[in-house]
Structures are given as structure tokens and as C-alpha cells.
């Protein structure tokens, strides 16, 4: 089937969701001042370095920012604004003229390349960003930042499309697809992050696509073509951000499970092999480019980081015992058990994940008043109970789908454990907190499913009205989050 024919099979509602997501994330990309999203400074530096020199930032003797970006960061008063919610961005014409002067000055954009926090990340998002950087009709860095942010918004729209299509696979009631996808399109943390220059945008897209392709093979069978599609998604995700690697064991286990339970085991194993093969080819290409073009280690340093996190230490690095890593990881998501050392002075399921999901913006310096999170909890709990009720009502269907659920469970576990192991290492090394809610956004398809299930849990009579209410709630949530950010930086 041709691509055009395939696209014509997608319901028009899905395209509407795509349009809504793009518009909303585009608004986020305008609302947030330059560099006021976690790590956007280093992500733009990576894009610029790649675009200007064809190299990844990997030079221990070079500065981390080009002259152009460094002067721009200074003119925008970034260092005095970040982390200080009482301090707005630049407000005066004289400060604006200083920014214009930097943009007009003949400053080089190609003298950076120093190692920073994202240097070990794979380059796919940055390559896309570099393409946009070069395609920009203007050579001002702020213009280019706007366009790369819009690239992220396009990826967010694509993510929403995949979420819609995932819901179409897993839920029979077509109205719930719109409800779930709209909840994602207006989700403030998703919009805030995806409105920035960040590889997270591509990570979310690839993750949503992975959930979609797996849902399809569990329903329609694993063909060679679908194996190829899964392989493509695995390759894109792996080359987008290291976090994606944590999803792969679960996904591969799902494919093996599917093959094992099939009477046509050999054919399915061949299709699964194609998926893994495509991933392998992408990995080899990445290694080859690292070794030959970029003069860095085979995996760009990413594998070393992941390995240190998994094993708890390596040569020259202070080890962390397995019990501590497990205890830390457990307490990130669940109440502490009596025999565990207390790892946190707060309750991460609420303080980190829930509050972060409701909204923590800027470089984690912009929060709603505390009562807002309490109100959000009061609204969320009944919705969560309704989702549980819907799950219980559908338990027979779900039990029959245990291999698929197990696959998703393994993927979730992989990410949760990787966050925990990375977090305990980061805290040990720096003393700072690592965890941010955005690390859970690869699960947007599951989030949308829970939202849709909550509406279904209200029953035949109240389900649709509740679905409409959830969408309005999501719109309001997004709006007030944007107002919070506007108030933080401009009022």
C-alpha cells in the first residue's frame, strides 16, 4: 500500500489532534524566553556546532559555547534570571538593543565544541536541528532557535498522532481516541519541553511510535514489514536520546514473546530479527561515524555512562552498592519499606512526579502555588479511580492480552529503573537531584490510555460528558500553565 493510501486511512480526527498539538506547542515555543528550558543552552550549542563544523561537541580544550551564543546568553541576562523566579527576563529597550547588537555583530558561531552534559548523546535530533539551522533564511542565532523550536513542535504533533493511533489500536470506543490525544496535546509539561530545542522531542515521538508499532503487531501480527517498521523506530529512538535504550529490552522481549506463542515461529522470529537487524545497522553506522568522522569513542561516551549507572561504578568512579541503588529506585516511585534506608527527605511520587506532571517550568524554578497541586490531586484521584474501575471492567480482555501488557510493563520498568540508577549516581557525583517528570513522557501513549479509561470508567451514560470535561480541564490546565510562565518572565 502506498504512503498516500495509508495516510488516507487515518481518521480526520487524528489530523485535527495533530493541528491542535502543533498550535499549542508552537504557543509554548513563543511563550518561553530563549534558553529558559532545562539544558536548552547546551542543546542549541550542539546543534550549532554540528551545523557550523560538522563535528559533535567533544573537544576538552574548547569552550562549550560559541562566541555568538555566549554573548547572546549574557545579553539575555540568562545567568541572573535562571533559577530565580523573582527575576524576569529583559524588560527594557536598552537591554533589547544589547541583544540586537550581539545579533548584528560579526561573531563566530563555530568556535565551541567543548564537552558538556549532552555531548555523549547521539546526534539524530541535532542533525535535524542542524538542517533547520542551515535552512533558516536568517543567520541570527535567535531566528534559528525559533525555527529549531518549531521543529520540536512538529515532532510533538507527530507524537500526538502516534498517541491517537495507539489509542485506536487498544480501545474500541472511537470517541476516547480524541479524548486521550487531546489530553496529551494540552499537557503542559509535554508542551513546555516540546516547545524547546531538545532531543526529548524526538525521544517522545520515537517512544510513541514504538508503543504504536508494538500495539499493531500484537493485534495484526508480526510481518516482515512491521518488523522493519519497529526496527526503524528503534533506530530513530536510539539515535535520538540515550534514555530510549531503556525501552529496548522490553520491546525486544515483546517480539520474542510474540514469536514464541505463534505457531509460525520461524517467520515471526525472522521479522523480529529484521527489527533487531535494523537497529544493529543503525548502531554500527553510529559507531563508524563516531570512530571515523568524529574521533571519539565507539558509542560517543554514552555507553560508558549507561554502563556506570547499571553496574554501580567503574574504574576511578566511586561505586554504589546494589542495595542502595535498588532502595533509591524503589523509593522514587513507591513508599519506603521498613528495611530500606531513607533516600529522600520528601515523597518523590508526589513531590517529583505528580507535581512535575502538573507543572514545574523554567529550569525547575517556576511552580504553581502549592494549593494548585493539592487541587490537582483532588481532581486526579477520582479520575484515577475511574480508570481503575474501567480496567477492572475489562479484566477479561486484559488477561487475554497479557503478553502485550507484559511488554509494556517491561518497557516501563526499564525506564523507571534506568531513571533510578542514573539518579542515584548523579546525586552521588554532584549532590543534585536528577529526576524530572519529562523522563516519564516516553509513556505518553499509556498516559493517554489512562485518561481515556477514566472517561470509560464513568460508564455508558456519563463517559462522553466526562471525556469532554477532561478535554476542557486539559485546555484550562495548559492555559494557566502558560500564564504562570508569562507571569514569571514578563510581569
Amino acid at each position: 500500500m502506498r504512503i498516500r493510501e495509508r495516510l488516507s486511512l487515518i481518521p480526520s480526527a487524528a489530523w485535527w489532534c495533530v493541528a491542535v498539538a502543533f498550535l499549542n506547542v508552537a504557543v509554548w515555543s513563543v511563550v518561553v524566553p530563549p534558553f529558559q528550558v532545562p539544558d536548552e543552552t547546551s542543546h542549541l550549542a550542539y546543534v550549532q556546532q554540528l551545523a557550523e563544523t560538522g563535528e559533535v561537541p567533544n573537544d576538552s580544550d574548547a569552550g562549550v559555547f560559541s562566541d555568538e551564543q555566549a554573548r547572546l546568553i549574557e545579553a539575555l541576562q540568562f545567568s541572573t534570571t535562571v533559577g530565580r523566579p523573582g527575576e524576569g527576563t529583559i524588560w527594557s529597550e536598552s537591554e533589547d538593543r544589547a541583544v540586537d547588537a550581539v545579533e548584528d555583530a560579526p561573531l563566530t558561531g563555530s568556535n565551541a565544541g567543548g564537552i558538556q552534559s549532552n555531548s555523549n548523546q547521539p546526534p539524530l535530533y541535532y542533525l535535524l536541528g542542524a538542517g533547520v539551522y542551515w535552512a533558516s533564511p536568517s543567520d541570527g542565532l535567535l531566528d534559528r532557535l525559533v525555527l529549531v523550536r518549531l521543529l520540536s513542535a512538529v515532532l510533538a504533533a507527530l507524537t500526538t498522532l502516534f498517541v491517537f493511533l495507539f489509542l485506536r489500536e487498544v480501545l474500541a470506543e472511537s470517541w476516547t481516541w480524541t479524548v486521550g490525544a487531546m489530553a496529551v496535546a494540552f499537557q503542559p509539561t509535554f508542551g513546555f519541553i516540546s516547545g524547546a530545542v531538545t532531543p526529548d522531542a524526538l525521544l517522545f515521538t520515537a517512544s510513541a511510535a514504538l508503543f504504536l508499532t508494538l500495539a499493531r503487531v500484537f493485534r495484526h501480527g508480526l510481518t516482515l514489514e512491521r518488523g522493519l517498521a519497529i526496527g526503524g523506530v528503534l533506530a530513530v529512538g536510539s539515535l535520538a536520546k540515550l534514555n530510549f535504550l531503556a525501552l529496548i529490552p522490553g520491546a525486544v522481549a515483546g517480539l520474542l514473546l510474540l514469536a514464541w506463542r505463534s505457531p509460525d515461529r520461524v517467520r515471526l522470529l525472522r521479522a523480529a530479527g529484521i527489527a533487531v537487524g535494523v537497529l544493529g545497522i543503525a548502531a554500527l553506522a553510529y559507531v563508524a561515524v563516531n570512530l571515523s568522522l568524529w574521533d571519539r569513542s565507539a558509542w560517543g561516551g554514552g555507553l560508558a555512562t549507561a554502563s556506570t549507572n547499571v553496574t554501580g561504578g567503574s574504574e576511578g568512579i566511586e561505586p554504589i552498592g546494589l542495595a542502595e541503588r535498588l532502595g533509591y529506585t524503589w523509593q522514587l516511585y513507591l513508599p519506603r519499606l521498613p528495611f530500606m534506608n531513607d533516600q529522600f527527605a520528601y515523597f518523590p511520587p508526589y513531590a517529583t512526579w505528580f507535581k512535575g506532571g502538573i507543572g514545574v517550568f523554567g529550569w525547575l524554578d517556576t511552580r504553581f502555588p502549592n494549593w494548585t497541586y493539592t487541587l490537582a490531586l483532588i481532581i486526579t484521584l477520582p479520575l484515577a479511580l475511574l480508570a481503575v474501575a474501567a480496567v477492572v471492567q475489562r479484566r477479561h480482555v486484559l488477561v487475554a492480552r497479557w503478553p502485550e501488557l507484559l511488554t509494556y510493563g517491561l518497557m516501563v520498568a526499564g525506564v523507571l529503573v534506568s531513571i533510578g540508577f542514573s539518579g542515584v549516581r548523579y546525586r552521588k557525583d554532584t549532590g543534585f537531584i536528577f529526576e524530572q517528570t519529562r523522563y516519564l513522557l516516553p509513556f505518553l501513549p499509556l498516559y493517554a490510555s489512562l485518561v481515556a479509561l477514566a472517561a470509560l470508567g464513568a460508564g455508558r451514560r456519563f463517559g462522553r460528558p466526562l471525556g469532554a470535561a477532561i478535554v476542557v480541564l486539559a485546555m484550562g490546565h495548559g492555559l494557566f500553565a502558560q500564564l504562570l510562565v508569562i507571569g514569571r518572565f514578563y510581569a
Partner: protein
């Protein structure tokens, strides 16, 4: 029908909440010198201690200077501020009578119409005893406040102006209304979609 009602009620509720929020009035900042309040920047040990800072910018519409002061538990003494250009021309001045607890204090000044750069700002703290002004690196944080108390509605043109600064956009202060229109379009599409897909 129920979906239509829920949507209508939800949107009315939402717009009401938005209206209430935007109508809330509070003192608003005109701008600051971006110095963080991370340490005791200036210690004034004598009666009538005075501290001056050069190269300051006073934003347009400034009508008060907000400072963080510590007085070791005593009531805040009388304070005054004066701002002059390098040639000696006065930009603004004002004073605050003694009283109140240590912490953030506002010193009312003559309203500054247009932004003034390269200004020397001097703060005088009267009364007996020691006091400290907070900032960083020997510089005191100077936060200039707009006159009176304003709602978000009243502040909207100012916010729109600030929104257009430090950006690539040529839209200037029209950028914020443009963003609002984009969001409105997203909302309209979402409502239409929900009516069609969820309401049928």
C-alpha cells in the same frame, strides 16, 4: 446534548477563572538591575550610612525602589534614595519614613517617565545602629516598582511590550496577541473536534 452542555459549562467556568485571575491587582515590578540577593552586599555601620552604585538603569514608569534590608531586629529606619545622571542632573528621588519590620521595603520616588541609563543611585539609611542591604558582589539589588497596584488586564500592554524584547521576532509587542490567537485557534479546533467526535 450532555457533551455540549459540559463543554459550554466548562468553558464558562474556565473563562470566569481566567477573568478572576487577570483582574487580581498587585504591585508590579518595572525592572531591576538583575543583581541576586544572595549575600549581605553592603553593611552600613554608622548613623546616616550611604551607599551609591554607578551605571544603573532606571526603567520607565518606576515609582518606587524596592530593597531587601536587614536591621538586626530593629524597626526599619528612615531611608531615602536619589538618582542622578553623570552630569549631576537628577533623575528621581524619594524617601520613606522610619517604621516597619526588616525585609523588603519600598521607597516611593518621583515617577520616572522614560528609562534612564548610566545613572548613579544612592541609598541613605538613617537612624542609629547597623543595617545591611542585600545583593551580590558589593552591589545591592535594586528593584524598581510601577506606581500603585495593577491588575493583569491593566498590565497587559506592558507585558506585551516585554514579550517582544530579546527575541528574533519582528512582531514586537504584537507577538503576545499573536500567540493568544494561535492558542484560540487550538481551542476552537479542540472544541469542534470534541463536539464532533465525543458528542455524537
Amino acid at each position: 446534548m450532555a457533551v455540549r452542555l459540559v463543554l459550554a459549562a466548562g468553558l464558562v467556568l474556565l473563562l470566569t477563572a481566567l477573568g478572576v485571575t487577570l483582574a487580581q491587582s498587585a504591585p508590579r515590578a518595572a525592572g531591576s538591575n538583575h543583581v541576586p540577593e544572595i549575600e549581605e552586599a553592603v553593611k552600613l555601620k554608622r548613623k546616616g550610612g550611604r551607599h551609591c552604585q554607578d551605571g544603573e538603569t532606571i526603567p520607565g514608569n518606576a515609582a518606587a525602589l524596592r530593597l531587601l534590608i536587614g536591621t538586626y531586629g530593629r524597626p526599619v529606619p528612615e531611608m531615602s534614595v536619589s538618582a542622578r545622571r553623570p552630569g549631576g542632573e537628577r533623575v528621581t528621588a524619594g524617601e520613606r519614613s522610619a517604621g516597619g519590620r526588616e525585609g523588603r521595603v519600598d521607597i516611593p520616588v518621583e515617577r520616572v517617565e522614560n528609562s534612564a541609563s548610566g545613572v548613579r543611585v544612592c541609598v541613605r539609611v538613617g537612624g542609629p545602629g547597623r543595617s545591611v542591604l542585600y545583593g551580590a558582589g558589593g552591589r545591592v539589588r535594586l528593584e524598581w516598582m510601577r506606581p500603585g497596584s495593577e491588575s493583569w488586564f491593566a498590565l497587559a500592554p506592558t507585558v506585551a511590550h516585554r514579550f517582544g524584547l530579546g527575541r528574533a521576532s519582528v512582531a514586537g509587542s504584537l507577538l503576545l496577541p499573536f500567540a493568544a490567537l494561535l492558542l484560540l485557534a487550538a481551542w476552537a479546533a479542540a472544541v469542534r473536534l470534541v463536539l464532533r467526535e465525543v458528542g455524537s
